[in-house]
Point group: C3
Chain length 267, copies 3
């Protein structure tokens, strides 16, 4: 793990210097939050979702984020077109399977996305990841109230099935990539009382996939930055309203030094 | 009224313990605000709007919110499908007729929703409620600049026509349910300078309809909680930006004790 | 320029008294920000985007804003229908060509909007304005990373081609209208790290076009108010999250006296 902890602070600097473009085909509930998180971090968002133009926008971006919240037939078509274009051009694709398993429509969309596209990172909550891994889990609305019995096994199975880095968010975050398995603790409870924190985390990870390091390093860096920003924001918040403003502030002011002082991966 | 004022604080506790799922088929302008208000309060939002999946999502939710802002043909179809499913399953339905009367398209959508669905609570501004009651009113954009001549009569007429609890928001909030007529005063003026406060109030009421009390108690509890949160937030705000963050903070920190100290229904 | 600097403070008062309705056919990423900016300033937003009702909503509004972010075929159709209605009724139309040049679909939409509608003000970033003027520029995502070689020439060419007031935003803002050419300096750097500030500025300008002064005065007033609010908000912000809340607060608390003390047009 020594390598990653040394690289993470440098990747943050790279994002701010290169300012990668992240094309986010995302939901309209938290689209503004996703765009603001990317901009606060130093990336450049573009949220084109119509199948009329999606692939052309992807071709000009550095990474593609597919977020399954508020799906409709045209948005799924746009995801598939953009995903294929990203795959052809060797651009990283991050998938956030919001509400996977909540409807047949989302189930079919997940099936096609995983079958037709090469995904670099999948980030979801415990129930969504459990569902994709075929290991169960329970959603209430879009919140996971239960994951699979053995969450660690589920993320590892899904990583082997897809070849992707898998991140399962929850009180503890789990990451699996091939034989590598990591966990992050110390999230802030307000994180779960603000809509869009999961979507923002996926977007932050997508920004780091554009930095040219390996998928594991990109996902670990995104998770480390986002959790640290959330933890500091949580200490100064009076509730979910001030927390979200503070989270964006912290993504903007976060320094490589902050990261060096706080790395706490458990493997 | 003694009964309600005793029950209101308990209902707030119930929401936080049970965390009901509210399926909101709502507009994309304030969808994030609606979701955040529900989460701050302690409920779980899900905002699926495509007719491909809406009814299936409703079947897993505890209450359904239909909000007429930014309507299009597919969203209206989703509202009707979800509403029918909610009715079949005995789940409460709350209707927020945003911009009712502003276009023929919205007029026709209102007509179908009221004719085809059984609604538990309708919450709108004075002009929207006046329009549904056939008593007139004047919108400018989506703001009511005038209600019917006799607003109290209009809410009572509409309640008798529909069987629903009617809440008309304004400087004073009016509630009618059959023969019962209540008013709430003391809103905060910033409430009208932030987009989405009406939508958030309707969502908060929807969360309380899932708590299993009668429709009147649910609506009265939502209104009481929301107004109190708004009043406290208003005292600490510098303008509409800090007001909205504060409103979410207060929905999160609101206690049953706060409610006991502030009940001020006028009947 | 004497005339404008005397009129600007009065126009702010007029907005707060008359509360014009701005119909914004805008994108779903920053739609909430656009609505909140209009309400904070004192205008009334309505964001109907379906072609089923758009023209009917425009007929009741005082100004129309067309924003090209997140376009799809029906939204472009709604823009054209509303634009034609606004032109027939003599209502001002403001155009924000978000991402112009980023896709063939947006290029074609721009071509139709400029060919079929009479636009009062066009506001975009340097690359978008450069593209519309046929003078080049480079977008990364929806950010301008380069404008035309001679930006001043481009805004003047586009004004002559379209008859519209042209505003090109950037570190310095440029405005051209026929032979008149003005610049504004002193923006705040956080303005570029918050999603939607460009969209909000266009909306604020649209509100002032409804105040009945000439196009130049309307655009200059909107720009002056927005930049001043942004500058003051920037002084008190800890990052982009608190900046956005502060920006809305300042649009609400801005006074004609503040404007009198800060006018700094360079001609």
């Amino acid at each position: 793990m020594k390598d990653i902890t040394a690289i993470i602070p440098n990747l943050l600097d790279q994002i701010r210097t290169r300012r990668p473009v992240v094309h986010a085909i995302t939901n309209w509930v938290t689209g503004g939050d996703v765009a603001n998180a990317l901009q606060a971090l130093g990336a450049r968002p573009v949220l084109a979702v119509s199948s009329e133009e999606a692939a052309e926008i992807t071709a000009q971006a550095d990474a593609l984020l597919l977020n399954l919240g508020t799906p409709d037939p045209d948005r799924i078509e746009a995801m598939l077109r953009s995903g294929r274009r990203a795959n052809e051009l060797g651009k990283p694709v991050v998938f956030d399977p919001v509400g996977a398993g909540a409807s047949i429509f989302r189930e079919e969309a997940c099936r096609r996305i995983l079958a037709e596209l090469r995904i670099m990172v999948i980030r979801g909550n415990r129930a969504e990841i459990g569902f994709l891994a075929g290991r169960g889990g329970q959603l209430r609305g879009i919140d996971a109230v239960a994951g699979p019995e053995d969450m660690a096994e589920a993320v590892q199975v899904l990583s082997r099935q897809t070849g992707a880095v898998i991140v399962a968010s929850g009180e503890k975050d789990l990451l699996a990539y091939g034989d590598i398995f990591l966990t992050w603790g110390n999230g802030h409870p307000l994180m779960t009382r603000v809509t869009g924190t999961g979507c923002m985390l996926s977007a932050v990870i997508a920004a780091f996939t554009a930095a040219g390091e390996d998928p594991l390093t990109a996902a670990a860096t995104g998770l480390t930055c986002f959790k640290l920003a959330g933890r500091v924001a949580g200490r100064h918040a009076n509730g979910p309203g001030t927390f979200k403003a503070g989270l964006l502030d912290r993504l903007y002011t976060l320094t490589p030094e902050d990261l060096r002082g706080s790395l706490e991966l458990e493997s």
